[in-house]
Symmetry: C2
Subunit: 494 residues, 2 copies
C-alpha cells in the first residue's frame, strides 16, 4: 500500500490535524521541494512518496532560514576540531542508574538533557547502529542478510569495545507475512539462509562497565531496515491481538517478531523465543551472583518497533526485571490498550524522534506512541544541510548527531559536542559542503573484491569463523579467535 493511500485511509476525521502537523514538521508552506539525494532506487521511491504526500496534503515544503543555530566559522574550523577526542570522559553513574533507567520516566532529565543521560542514549544508539554497520547487504554474497562478523569480534571490529559490553547471542528473524522489501536476499542459489535475516543481538555489560553503571545491564539491539519508507509502503497496516485483553499491535511487526518454521535453518525458533531465552538465562545467571540486573532494549526504525514488542514480552515473562526501551525514529506499534498494558507492566520507553522524520508518524492515529519523547530538530545543527532529505532525516547517524548536540529546547546546538560529525554521511547526504565529507561514504574498497596472486579480482571467501551456522553459534574457539585478532588491525570498520 502506498504511504499516501495509507495516510488517506486514516484521514476522514483527522485530516486537518495531520495536515497541520505535517506542515509544522516541515516548516512553512508554498515553496518548492528540494531533493538533494543522488538518484538511487531508494531515493526514487522516496521522491515519488514525497510527491504523493505533498500532493495529497496540498503541501509545498520549504527550507526554513537558518535561525536559532550556532554559526560555524568554516575558515577556522578544521585542524583543532579534528584532533579533539570524539567522546567525553566517562562519569560513574552507579548511584543514579535507576533515574537514568527511567524509574521516574526521566522526569527532569530531558529539558535540559542531563549530560549523563545523553551519553547513555548515544551508547545505546551505537549498539543499534552496529546492526547496520555489520550487516551484509551484498546481494552477490552468499551470506547476504547475515552479520559480516561473528559475535565475538563484532564490537572489536566496529570500534565499540570501549562501551564495555560483550555480545552473547545473535538473533535471527523471518516473517510469514509477505513483505518483499523487508528481507535482504542473496541473488545466488546456494546461500546461508533463504528465509531469515540477522536481526540483532543480545549483549551484556562487562565487570568494569557494570561497576560504572551500578548494575549488570543486558542490552538487546534490534536492526531496522535500510530503506524504511519503501518498507513501510509494503506493510499491510492491520492490527493483531497481542498479549491479554484488548491490546493489539501492527500485524507486520508482530510477524517478524514471532514467526518461525521448522524447515528453516535459523528460525526453528522465533526471534521472540531466541531473545527471551537468552535474556532469561542471563538474568538468572547474574541474579544467582546477587547482582542487580536491568534490561535495556534499543532499535532504530523497524528495530524500535521490535524493541517495544520485546520489552512487553520480557516484562510479562521475567518478574521484577527493570525494562526500558530507547528507540530512535520508531513507528507507532499498537493501540491504546497496548500502551496501557505496557505502562502497567512498568516498561519505560524513551523515544528519540526528529521533527522532520515521517516514520514516527506512521502508521497513523489509530496507533499510539508510548513513553517519554525527546524531540530533536534537524535545523538545530549548523552541520546539516537544509534541503528536504527523507532518508537523511530518518538516518540513525543523524539522530545520534542531534542527540550529541542537544542541550535544551531553547538552546542552540551544543558547542562542545564531540561525536564525529563525519559519521552522519556514512549512508546519506546530510552534511554541509563546507565539511568536505563525501555522501554515503561507508563502503568497502572495491566492493570487497581483492586482487589474487594471479592478478584476478575475486571475492575472497569469508573467514570460516564468520560464516553463520545455526549449530556453531555457541561453540566458537574463542582463544584461537582472540589470538588471531591480536595479529590483525581489526579496528578499521571496513
Amino acid at each position: 500500500m502506498a504511504l499516501s493511500t495509507m495516510i488517506y485511509n486514516h484521514l476522514p476525521t483527522s485530516q486537518p490535524i495531520i495536515m497541520n502537523k505535517l506542515s509544522k514538521i516541515h516548516g512553512l508552506a508554498h515553496q518548492q521541494v528540494v531533493l538533494d539525494q543522488p538518484k538511487t532506487k531508494t531515493s526514487n521511491r522516496v521522491s515519488s512518496l514525497t510527491e504523493s504526500l505533498s500532493h495529497l496534503l496540498h503541501l509545498h515544503l520549504e527550507t526554513p532560514p537558518r535561525t536559532n543555530t550556532r554559526q560555524i566559522n568554516w575558515n577556522s574550523y578544521g585542524e583543532e576540531k579534528l584532533s579533539t577526542p570524539t567522546t567525553s570522559p566517562k562519569e560513574v553513574i552507579a548511584q543514579n542508574w535507576r533515574d537514568m533507567h527511567a524509574s521516574s520516566n526521566w522526569d527532569n532529565l530531558l529539558d535540559p538533557l542531563h549530560p549523563w543521560l545523553r551519553r547513555e542514549i548515544i551508547k545505546y544508539g551505537e549498539f543499534a547502529q552496529a546492526t547496520y554497520d555489520a550487516f551484509d547487504f551484498d546481494s552477490h554474497s552468499e551470506y547476504c542478510g547475515s552479520c559480516r562478523y561473528n559475535r565475538h569480534k563484532l564490537f572489536e571490529t566496529l570500534g565499540l569495545s570501549r562501551n564495555g559490553y560483550k555480545v552473547c547471542k545473535y538473533i535471527y528473524a523471518m516473517s510469514h507475512v509477505n513483505m518483499p522489501q523487508w528481507l535482504e536476499r542473496s541473488k545466488l542459489v546456494d546461500t546461508w539462509s533463504k528465509d531469515s535475516n540477522w536481526m540483532g543481538y543480545v549483549a551484556v555489560s562487562d565487570d568494569e562497565e557494570t561497576r560504572r553503571i551500578g548494575r549488570r545491564d543486558i542490552v538487546v539491539a534490534w536492526r531496522g531496515t535500510v530503506a524504511p519508507t519503501e518498507w513501510y509502503e509494503d506493510l499491510q497496516w492491520k492490527l493483531e491481538p497481542y498479549g491479554h485483553g484488548d491490546a493489539k499491535v501492527e500485524h507486520g511487526f508482530h510477524s517478524i517478531y514471532t514467526s518461525k518454521n521448522d524447515t528453516t535453518r535459523y528460525n526453528k525458533s522465533s526471534a521472540s523465543e531466541q531473545v527471551i531465552k537468552e535474556v532469561t538465562r542471563l538474568v538468572e545467571l547474574y541474579r544467582e551472583k546477587g547482582e542487580d540486573v536491568s534490561l535495556t532494549i534499543t532499535g532504530h526504525s523497524l528495530g524500535g518497533a521490535l524493541a517495544i514488542l520485546n520489552a512487553y514480552e520480557a516484562a510479562s515473562t521475567i518478574p521484577n526485571l527493570p525494562v526500558s526501551v530507547i528507540s530512535f525514529g520508531a513507528p507507532r506499534v499498537g493501540n491504546i490498550a497496548f500502551r496501557d498494558e505496557l505502562h502497567q507492566l512498568g516498561v519505560k520507553t524513551f523515544r528519540v524522534v526528529t521533527k522532520q522524520d515521517v516514520v514516527p508518524w506512521m502508521p497513523g492515529p489509530v496507533y499510539t506512541h508510548v513513553g517519554a519523547e525527546l524531540k530533536l530538530d534537524v535545523h538545530s545543527s549548523p552541520y546539516l544541510k537544509r534541503g528536504l532529505n527523507w532518508p537523511g532525516f530518518h538516518s540513525l547517524e543523524t539522530y545520534l548527531h542531534l542527540v550529541d548536540g542537544f542541550v535544551s529546547t531553547t538552546s542552540t546546538f551544543r558547542e562542545d559536542a564531540r561525536r564525529d560529525v563525519a559519521l552522519v554521511n556514512k549512508a546519506c547526504d546530510m552534511l554541509v559542503d563546507e565539511l568536505r565529507i563525501p555522501h554515503c561514504w561507508y563502503q568497502l574498497a572495491n566492493k570487497g573484491l581483492v586482487c589474487n596472486a594471479h592478478g584476478r579480482w575475486v571475492k575472497p571467501k569469508r573467514d570460516p569463523e564468520d560464516i553463520p551456522s545455526p549449530h556453531m553459534q555457541e561453540n566458537i574457539n574463542v582463544p584461537a579467535l582472540e589470538a588471531r585478532m591480536q595479529t590483525q588491525d581489526v579496528h578499521k570498520p571496513l
Copy 2:
C-alpha cells in the same frame, strides 16, 4: 544539443540508411527496451537519450537470442579459471614491428586477428585505461581533475609496470569553448587548478621492451570522459579549419587540444604544445643514439579524437616519424579533406569499435572516420549481459574484454582468452550474474576517508609527491621516491 536533435539535423537525406544501420547494430525490431543500469545521474540522462533516440527513429530495440556464442558451464567455472594468469607469454615481435605498427594498414592481420597484434592493442588500451583509473573524480577533493599519483609511480601503482614503459610527462588541457560536462571540477574554493584537467601522458618503452618490439616506442595516452553521452550532448558540433587546405575538425575537440591561457597554472601552453615538445625531445634523444623510433597514440572516446588531432600534428611536425593511432570507441573527428591529409601524412589509424556503441556514430555523416576498423560485438561474449546498456557498451574495459576474446568475424569468443573478466564491471554493470561480480566495483574504501588517531574520519592529505605542481613536474626526487615505493604495497590500485 541533444543527441536526438543532433542526429535529426543530419537525417534529411540519410535517414533510411541510418535507421537501417541503427536497427542492425541493435538487433531486430519491435521489442522492449531493457535498462539494466542502476539509476545514476548519468544513466538517467543516458536513458532519456535512449528513449528520444528510439522514439525518433521509431525503433524498438531488443536483445537478440544467444546464438553464435560459446556457452559457459557455470557450474564448472571458477577455481581453475581464477588461478589462470591474466596474460599470455610475451612474444618477441622485433622483426615484425612495422607490420604491427601498420606500415601496410594492418592488412591480413585483422580477420583473423593476429595474436601478436591483439596483445599490442590491449597494451595500448591499458595505457588509455590508466588515464581513468588514476584520475581524481572526487569533487570534494582540492585535487579533483588531477592524477592521483605522480608520473614516477603511475604504472607501478596501477600494476602496469609489466608493460615495460616509463611515463615522461603529464599533459594538461583546458578549453575556451564552454562545455560544462567536460571539465571535472572541485567543489572547493582553493584547488590545484580552476581551468585545467589532467588529460593524459607521454611514456616511452624501456630497454627490454624496446628490444622485444624492435624500436623505441613513444606512447601518448589521452583521457576521455566518464559520461561520454552527456558530454557529446553538450558539444556544438561545428567544424573548424585545421592544418592546411580544406581540412576541418570538430570545434570542441580542437578547443581542448589547442586552448591555453597565460593566467592559468597548467595551461600556459596548450595540450598540443606540451605533447609535441615532449615527443620532439624524445625523438631527438633516441635518434641521436641511432635507434629506430615510433610514435603510438592511444585514447578512448574523446581521448581517441584527441589522439587523431595529435597524430596529425606530430606527423606534420616531426619528419619521417612512423605515427599510428589506436583508438577505442572514438567519435568522428573531421571532414573528408582532413581524412585525406592524414593519409597523405602517412598516419595509420586503427579504430576499435563495438557494434553496439553509439559514440563512433557521432557526430554524424558530415564527419568521416579514418583508417582501419576492428568491429567487435558485445553479443559475442558469453560473459556479458544482453540488455541495452549504453555506458556499458561504450566502456573501455568492455572494449578490452572483447578484443581479448576476438578471433575472427566468423568465430565465437576465444576460449583461451585470459584477461580478467571482472575488470569489465569496474565502472559499469555488464557482466552476467553468474560471475558474481558486483557492478561499478572500482572504489576506494570509505571514499578515501580514514579514521585518525582521535577516532575521527578525515580525508588524508595527499602525499606531497603526488600533489600536482606546474613547476615541480620535472624535478621530483626520484631515488627518495623509489626507496619509499619499495617499502609500500603499491600494487593495489586503490
